[in-house]
Assembly symmetry: D2
Homo-oligomer: 363 residues x 4
């Protein structure tokens, strides 16, 4: 792309010009010609930075919060947001996405509320918490991906004598920036302390290729409260086995992947957030990609690295990293490498801003 080298619209300084610019201010105006290069760059130039948070640093801080800060009404959640270094300290991992580590001590309850913001949880380790979504208790265990779509009441409680931590993902920055959020308090406790193995949503909806006759209306978000690790793992395992059998099944050579979907439509689980799980065979390096929109990964298992804008960062279990819009990135697997991923891709696709550039083929 050619660089902007000229600007015919920079008149010489003069009293009249200064008066005009002053009048702009007084009248709540601001000219395009002095700022177009910043406002409308030749390609996305995010203020957000590519960044890695180490689980080995996150978890102890969450633990200390558990000791110092009680959980309850008002603050609502013991959740610590990952604040992108480029975004001025705000708890935004990207301009659109929120990612936090949430921590619940033994026997604690996080009270019920609901909000327009779409939310999910992903569990990298631990068990013993149930999240209650519109009265349906949902077990949370390692590898599970759990949904709380906008405007569903939800609270959490820990049944055990051990603390538990997980990550939350929401569209809080997008909602805040665009003034779309509503919020309502619910019960100070959760409405059902039962601890079933499977939620009612799963029992109705988690039968492959089947849809209950009582649920023929499509829903904006998925009716499935928990996407169990057992299924995710099996799907990835089968893809790699099929690849070994010479069948088309993987996303790239040695690179298996699934997208979590709303079974009523086959589309994304929520209107603003996409979630996927990726597995790389040991030794695999992915192609370098650029995508419009921001994406977040958490390492679930294994060791490897991410290269973002040419900079290589090693990764291990629990580490979280964000790739801002149009940043070049690729992954490398030192061992078999399992990663959970979420992004704002549904926003980009529904508004037709999505673009992808694959810079080189898979190694």
């Amino acid at each position: 792309m050619e660089e902007r080298s000229m600007n015919m619209m920079m008149p010489e300084d003069s009293a009249e010009l200064r008066a005009l610019y002053e009048a702009f201010k007084t009248n709540h105006l601001n000219p395009l010609w002095t700022q177009i290069g910043d406002l409308m760059p030749q390609h996305p130039k995010p203020r957000a930075k590519a960044h890695v948070w180490k689980w080995s640093e996150l978890y102890p801080l969450a633990q200390q919060s558990g000791e110092l800060v009680p959980v309850g009404r008002g603050g609502e959640r013991r959740a610590i947001g990952l604040a992108n270094p480029g975004l001025g300290g705000e708890a935004y991992i990207s301009p659109t996405l929120w990612c936090a580590i949430q921590y619940l001590g033994p026997k604690e309850t996080a009270p019920e509320h609901r909000h327009s913001q779409n939310a999910f949880r992903f569990v990298v380790e631990g068990e013993g918490v149930w999240t209650v979504v519109n009265g349906d208790p949902v077990r949370m265990s390692r590898g599970d991906f759990l949904l709380t779509p906008g405007w569903n009441f939800h609270g959490h409680h820990n049944e055990t004598d051990q603390p538990m931590a997980w990550i939350d993902g929401l569209d809080i920055p997008f909602s805040y920036q665009n003034d779309v959020g509503f919020f309502e308090f619910g019960s100070d406790r959760v409405t059902d302390y039962a601890t079933p193995d499977y939620s009612r949503g799963e029992r109705l909806w988690c039968h492959p290729g089947l849809r209950p006759l009582s649920g023929l209306e499509n829903t904006v978000s998925s009716p499935i409260g928990a996407y169990r690790w057992e299924y995710t793992d099996r799907a990835l395992t089968e893809q790699l086995l099929l690849e070994e059998e010479g069948q088309p099944a993987t996303f790239g050579q040695g690179h298996a992947g699934v997208r979590y979907i709303n079974p009523t439509t086959g589309g994304d689980v929520m209107p603003t957030i996409r979630a996927e799980f990726h597995r790389l065979r040991e030794g695999v390096e992915t192609a370098t990609r650029r995508e419009v929109g921001s994406t977040v990964f958490q390492v679930f298992e294994g060791r490897g690295a991410v290269v973002m804008n040419g900079e290589r960062k090693t990764l291990e279990k629990g580490d979280i990293f964000v790739i801002p819009s149009w940043v070049a990135w690729s992954l490398e697997a030192e061992t078999q490498f399992d990663l959970f991923r979420f992004s704002d891709a549904p926003i980009m696709e529904r508004l037709n801003f999505n673009r992808t550039l694959v810079e080189d083929a898979d190694a």
Copy 2:
């Protein structure tokens, strides 16, 4: 609805009138006014009849065919179509649908071909046959629902020393009537005699709430080759358990049901055919319904009855019955009662002809 009692358009007989009507014929014309009552009735008045075929009569005839008629190229399939008594002997179970019992002897192969017509199979008993769909071998076992969407090559082979029979469902009458069908021969044998427990399509697609990243393009028909009885049974069982727990889960009181879907869209498995499975608790009687379009049931397990146009027919395992358009029908369960169902509902819905009338509430 008022009855047609008058006809202002019946002029007195005259030489001129007879000459006019003769000229119509000569010129390939036919007036509306003499036939509108038949052509455009006040509600659907199907020529097709409500009818029950007994499995106890069907199966022995299929068996005899197995002894007398070899299977192979040309005739292609040892399939015996159920011919609706109202449709003049044609092998049409309804104006849109074909239903046949197909029979494959020990070690036999039905050769490969493909056609525009959409097809499925449902297995009421037996095992040991694999259907090979576009090269993917799919095991057929009791309770399984198996797909062969239009224009996929497919053949069948029996691996065992026992014969096996199942039912085929297709849109042959619709395709024939509307001149949409193409047909192509494939291999005289099946292209892969492997006998895996699970087909490649299942291994890629049968993980609840998950979609492979290699399959993000929506497909016209479902990529799942086999919908296993294990899942269907579990889904129905869970619905009835949830109902016992006081949760909304069933289609009607004591009436569980699932629809087989295309996981890429959440919609019907094929563009012209809907398939469902229904389970009634012992003693349940459904509401009486009328629907536009024709539907076929096969009893999978249990005893009960169907009432069609006021006439009650007892039913047992394997029995097949057809309900033509707008015929009033209800089901009664003497024992727990399991039924497979298929219909032309996608045609009716996609063309906006669908209507349903529920005449009385569930007992």
Copy 3:
């Protein structure tokens, strides 16, 4: 395509075989293997014939009907259906479509009714009739395309001292064959004898690129009652002018065309019927095409010919011809050649049976 030359499934005649076939009949069964070549041909082999009806023969017969047959309740319409020579005398121009010439004498009224069947009218000559659709009077004039989607009440009345004739198009054969039709009588007169130049539907909806805020819900069929010749003619004229200016605008070289659409969706005007208008420059010959589904043309102006299955028929104003499924066809323009077209393409597309083969490029 290879021809079927063998049939392994033709066992030698025997008493047992005859008994089996007899038992099939008794039990309302019919084997596939004796008839598959007919039921499932290698490509569509329609019973319907390609055929041309001459306006010069149709119109006088309609006129005689006007003298001999009164119009009114019961027969409902003085409409004479074009009966495809291949379809046994039924008033079906194709397996899916009905086409009739309708004739209304001076001051006559055709009473109101409604039906599930979708209907339109096209006016090749004349004026003076208003069709009243759900109480909205719609003027009918030369070149206008007028809609009566399923389940809208409608009647017609002739305000003048001159008779008027036009063609009706409906999905009667499809509806009859598939048992989807409902019918209800309305007023014996039309409910509004006003004779406005423009109907209310047009006044709300016929502003290009605009949609009334009172009409933001999409509708199954178009809310436009009349597509005026003035607009159609202008659209075609502009396409040919743009082509002369070197711009991409026409369907083929010298071949302009428009599709009538539902402005709420941009799609077809009704769920089962597509309508288009084509204009060929003098001397143009179109490519030869085959399409799945049946199509009907009426010459609106000019002289030319159609070649169907290699047979050439000359055409002039008012002539109507039908092209059954998969019949090869092309058009030739002796003068500038204007043709109205309708087809069952929405059925084929919505059910994914559509295919097109262009056999040679435009001359």
Copy 4:
């Protein structure tokens, strides 16, 4: 809605707590519990203010810019953005939308470029400029609404000896905030200085109810470059006439309105921006509404007032006002009152954040 009155998550100050909060900062973390009330309010609490800009002040400043600032490459456009008083001086009329007055002197040319951002122009007065969109020259005249969807090259030139001003609307703030923008320079001049009355897009697409056969693929944005005032005015006039005739046609009593649409889909003209035109009869007061998302109006003709959050502002020709998310608003018409409106409603609807509250009925 209940107010947040308690906060169990405010532990007493301590050295450990301060150390924890310090460690959060060091590790790019930020807790939810200290800020949830701001981040997730009970209803949208926009920083953007409801505000009115007077045309009588805007136009002279644009004129002075015309004298002092040349137009050309680099700055690209002599456009002065309306900067919402609540958004810190940024040239954002709302968090999602940009609105500017653009001014082009006699014989001037604004050079060609293209960008991902979606743009339109609306002309409240004047004429003589052509905007050239992907090589198609489009006349700009009073009352016209003109499109430049994302990634279409466009430049403007003034053919006359008079200056001309209009307003631009874009999704610049949304694109900037979410890092989706690409930009490319084109010709330093416009590629076609022809001055036709109607653009090629209009000649192909502005025929009501018709679609060219050369344009059967749906497009993300409308193919219509100019929505002419003549059509808009006529549509509004007809709605009010129909209302007088007792027909349902208007949006509210005495309140006519149209939405500008993409004729290929019936939906909004561009993926992020909705545009409408409203006409109130003299004396009409609309209901008070709250909507999620931000909206901008410009008075086209007449006098009246807007009430926003209870504050009444009088309005006259050219005045522009913005209504941030969930601000209560209503309009009052002193004379017949014509207003152009645009908003980010497609963003809200596509992401399922849309909500509307009508607080009282139309007077």
